[in-house]
């Protein structure tokens, strides 16, 4: 042990470099583990904590006795509880207000949510439990006051986690009140109505039979929609799907980086010390002793460095990961994360140990005399000298930079490893930038939602003619929008949008299948809604309008719209107004090319309008986008550090191995600039093909792959643009320059004589 420590101290630069590589690999792995594990296990953890029911049934209001009677006949039922769910309530508190709040009136029984803080509802009718997303976003805490339209002031007594839906602001704000307490205060109905039932089974394996039985006994119950616990998980996991896929890719890169780079580094170290191994063998040291000594040295470095890296990755990723989990109403993993983190640590500590011990064991098999002569430790794909092609007589066919490239190319396996790590990292960083750009566009660019109008004006349809004559306005049309009541499992609303004429002048989300709407009956349905309801062109969509009327539309086409997660329907204005005469009316204003939105806004204000700029994705998605962006940033930072490490390591090892070559150049009269040029050539041999590899990888594999994962939501354009490619290339060039300068400085400090004899 003492000998190992002394050896590490002597080679402190190489030791520091190896430790940095191990720490980086560990940081990458633990970043992936923190986010990936949190998301992958989040639903089960939260569902268990909340005692989420096995089946949730929503239906039109029914007397409790009628529903309870039907449910009592179901087999294998462990418990049932009921709620009256009131939607579109007006709720205010802490300076915030929503007219789309959901109020859950709880009957006695199991709750189906997890209480994060405070206490359960008491007999006080003013007690309220708020969902954690509302509490966080509105700044509510225990004791805060809320105002519910029709009921008055409420006191927050508890904060809940409700994993049957995503959190506010991704979903509507939700509060829970005690129905018995309200009945006691305001008088109980004889047979109270409910529209929400939660069912717990004794044996979850019997779920299919219970559902079959439930369908058979649900005759006469209108508007019945059933979702299972697994169904909730599938819906919620859609939100995390992209992130998990990203993290899986990151984990693969981390593993590749850890395995290849640490192994290459350890192998190079063994190669450098072959003569020492030969001497030990010559004086009688056993093979296992030599292998163990190398493994021990590696362990002294890898164990603390791995721990440090795992800790750093945890610190980097914890906060954005928890934000993301909160946004989708899931609990952070807490102490459960210790196991995957320990796994990351073990992996990053073990790889260098094995990568050092194994080549040492292999090397020690060779005759001591060959080892002492410094013979190459060759693998199947070991060092091959590139055959020179002599140029025309008297001409030096390559420059010094090219010589650097040839020197680094002599180590083919290492060059391939460096290229792989750099190329994949570059591809990944490009993907992050493309994704971040897409997310940013979703948040702020109406075009990403297929919207071609830039302004809306709160004016009646009759004012369209006047607005059309405003300078800078290219087109204007009335736009009608209605939020139909939920028609699918999660109880979300659907946006119905209508234009009097061709809506594609103002909104043209890409058509996925079918055709654009024509006539007065057809509808273009967003892909998100089509998937949830299983709609295809030719299907019939039935929605319940705020007026209580039911409207039916024949699906003409499916469109890729990101508005409201694709839960949007374009219908003819006449049909929409026939069913809902009080539909919200605005003028959609499309500007002429080059027109100033600010100038047109001023002119519209002069006409008495209250114009507003058209937004991107719904504001409700902003927190999710922010959390995703934070994760992307964290991953990109770690990835950038890996690039830097890969470059420095490749150059450093090359400079160490070829110190005699560098010394010869210096002895021949080369200055520091020439050494830098040589190393720049070596760096370019790795960076240029890696950059090309990364661009190709992102364009043809990572981008399309990620877009396919997101296909459930929309068509995302995930190809990095020229600006993003330029930024990455510049960053790579800067990293390479830094690495060249640092390594060249180290090389120039070494005495020429010592390097020549080494």
């Amino acid at each position: 042990m003492g000998e190992a420590l002394a050896g590490l101290r002597r080679r402190r630069w190489r030791t520091a470099l190896a430790a940095a590589g191990i720490a980086l690999a560990a940081a990458m792995l633990s970043t992936a583990a923190v986010v990936g594990y949190g998301l992958h296990t989040g639903f089960q953890r939260s569902a268990r904590g909340a005692d989420l029911p096995d089946v949730i049934a929503r239906f039109d209001r029914q007397p409790l006795s009628r529903i309870a009677g039907r449910l009592a006949a179901l087999p294998d039922l462990a418990a049932v509880s009921f709620r009256l769910e009131i939607t579109n309530a007006e709720l205010a508190g802490a300076g915030h207000r929503s007219r789309q709040a959901v109020v859950e009136l709880l009957s006695p029984g199991r709750r189906g949510y997890d209480l994060l803080a405070g206490r359960e509802l008491s007999s006080d009718p003013r007690d309220a439990i708020v969902e954690q997303g509302v509490a966080r976003t509105w700044g509510l805490h225990l004791g805060s006051r809320l105002f519910l339209d029709g009921l008055g002031a409420l006191h927050v007594v508890g904060i809940s986690q409700s994993p049957d839906n995503v959190a506010y602001p991704l979903a509507a704000p939700r509060i829970y009140l005690s129905r018995p307490a309200l009945d006691a205060r305001f008088g109980a109905e004889r047979d109270p109505e409910v529209n929400f039932a939660q069912l717990w089974l004794r044996d979850r394996d019997q779920l299919d039979q219970v559902l079959v039985q439930a369908r058979a006994s649900s005759y006469g119950i209108r508007g019945l929609r059933v979702i299972t616990r697994e169904g909730v998980r599938v819906l919620l996991d859609q939100a995390a799907g992209i992130v998990i896929a990203l993290l899986v890719a990151l984990s693969a890169i981390a593993l590749l980086t850890a395995a290849v780079m640490l192994a290459a580094s350890a192998r190079a170290e063994v190669q450098r010390r072959l003569a020492g191994i030969g001497v030990r063998r010559a004086i009688g040291a056993g093979r296992s002793h030599i292998a163990l000594a190398h493994a021990l040295e590696a362990a002294i470095v890898s164990v603390p460095a791995g721990a440090l890296g795992v800790l750093a990755g945890y610190v980097i990723a914890r906060s954005p990961s928890e934000q993301l989990l909160e946004a989708i109403n899931e609990l952070p993993p807490g102490a459960g994360l210790a196991v995957p983190l320990l796994g990351c640590w073990a992996m990053t500590a073990l790889i260098p140990v094995l990568a050092s011990g194994w080549p040492a064991l292999r090397a020690s098999r060779r005759p001591p005399i060959a080892l002492m002569r410094g013979a190459e430790l060759r693998g199947r794909w070991g060092r091959r000298i590139l055959r020179s092609r002599p140029g025309p007589s008297g001409r030096f066919p390559t420059g010094l930079a090219a010589l650097g490239a040839r020197v680094v190319s002599a180590r083919r396996v290492r060059l391939a490893a460096t290229l792989a790590v750099l190329g994949i990292s570059v591809g990944f960083i490009l993907l992050m930038l493309a994704l971040a750009s897409e997310l940013s566009a979703l948040e702020s660019d109406p075009g990403s939602l297929g919207k071609r109008y830039q302004l809306t004006a709160s004016l009646p349809a009759a004012a369209a003619a006047r607005v059309r004559h405003v300078s800078g306005v290219a087109a204007v049309a009335p736009r009608y929008e209605v939020q139909a009541l939920d028609s699918y499992s999660l109880g979300e609303t659907i946006d119905l949008v209508g234009y009097p004429g061709d809506h594609t002048v103002f909104e043209a989300p890409p058509l996925v299948s079918g055709h654009r709407l024509t006539g007065t009956e057809g509808a273009e349905v967003g892909r998100g809604l089509a998937q949830v309801l299983g709609l295809d062109p030719g299907s019939t969509l039935a929605v319940e309008l705020p007026s209580g009327r039911e409207a039916r539309f024949r699906v003409a086409g499916i469109v890729d719209s990101l508005q409201h997660d694709g839960r949007v329907v374009y219908v003819p204005a006449r049909t929409l107004l026939a069913g809902e005469p009080s539909a919200q009316e605005q003028l959609a204003v499309r500007l002429s090319a080059g027109a100033s939105p600010a100038a047109v806004t001023r002119r519209l204000v002069a006409l008495g309008a209250r114009p507003s700029a058209t937004g991107g994705a719904t504001n409700r998605g902003r927190s999710l986008i922010a959390a995703l962006s934070a994760i992307l940033r964290a991953v990109a930072i770690v990835d950038g550090l890996v690039c830097m490490y890969a470059l420095v390591q490749a150059l450093f090892l090359t400079a160490r191995e070829r110190r005699a070559t560098i010394a010869l150049l210096r002895a021949s009269g080369a200055g520091a600039g020439t050494v830098r040029l040589l190393l720049a050539g070596a760096a370019a041999a790795a960076v240029v093909p890696a950059a090309l590899l990364g661009i190709v990888l992102e364009r043809f594999a990572l981008g399309p792959g990620m877009a396919r994962l997101a296909i459930g939501y929309a068509s995302l354009e995930l190809s990095a643009g020229p600006v993003q490619i330029g930024v990455v290339l510049l960053g790579l060039a800067a990293l390479a320059t830094g690495a060249v300068l640092w390594v060249a400085r180290q090389a120039a400090r070494e005495p020429i004589v010592a390097a020549l004899s080494g």
Binding site: S393, F396, G669, G671, G673
Partner: protein, 199 residues
């Protein structure tokens, strides 16, 4: 450690420094070549002082005034024999006409047929000839040879000594260190070194 060493080598002179291992002869060669710096004293090469120079200045002097021949040849293994010879001519500040000189030297040294071969494809004698050509390609005033016959057989060593002798005919000063008496005897002057002192 060298102590009180005083040596002057004239143009056209081949001087051998003879000594056992650890006597300090290689240290003397490194000091003369500007690869190492003395604690005290003065070293002039072709009228330029090596003492007190910056690293940049030393590099320039090595490039234009000094040529090295090493015992282990120090050929770069990725470059052919010809490319190794051309290498010093590619360094910034090298005198013009290097390519023509390299061609001439390779021809004169008789290794033209193997000039496109990589070092590991050459014999020891051929490698040493390319190393000498590389040392001469920038027309240095002083050639320093460190145990130049150490890795050669007797016949190749004889050829090499003839080559070094030939260099002096062109007016160059050559200093060679060796521990072999018969090699040293080929020089114009033999200086013996022991315990860091010349005699």
């Amino acid at each position: 450690m060298l102590d009180g060493v005083d040596i002057e080598v004239r143009a056209g002179e081949l001087v051998a420094v003879l000594g056992r291992s650890g006597s300090g002869k290689s240290t003397l060669l490194h000091l003369l070549g500007g690869l190492d710096r003395p604690d005290a004293g003065a070293i002039d090469v072709a009228g330029e002082s090596l003492v007190g120079c910056s690293q940049r200045e030393l590099a320039r002097i090595r490039l234009r005034r000094i040529g090295f021949v090493f015992q282990s040849f120090q050929l770069i293994e990725e470059l052919s024999g010809e490319e190794n010879v051309l290498l010093p001519t590619r360094l910034p500040g090298a005198p013009a006409g290097g390519a023509a000189r390299a061609r001439t030297l390779i021809g004169e040294l008789g290794v033209e047929p193997v000039s496109g071969h990589l070092p590991h494809e050459l014999s020891g004698g051929e490698q040493q000839r390319f190393a000498i050509a590389r040392a001469l390609v920038n027309e240095p005033a002083l050639v320093l040879a460190d145990e130049p016959t150490g890795n050669l057989d007797r016949e190749a060593a004889g050829d090499l000594l003839a080559l070094l002798r030939g260099l002096t005919d062109a007016g160059r000063a050559v200093v060679m260190v060796t521990h072999e008496r018969d090699v040293a005897d080929a020089a114009d002057r033999v200086l013996e070194m022991a315990d860091g002192q010349l005699s």
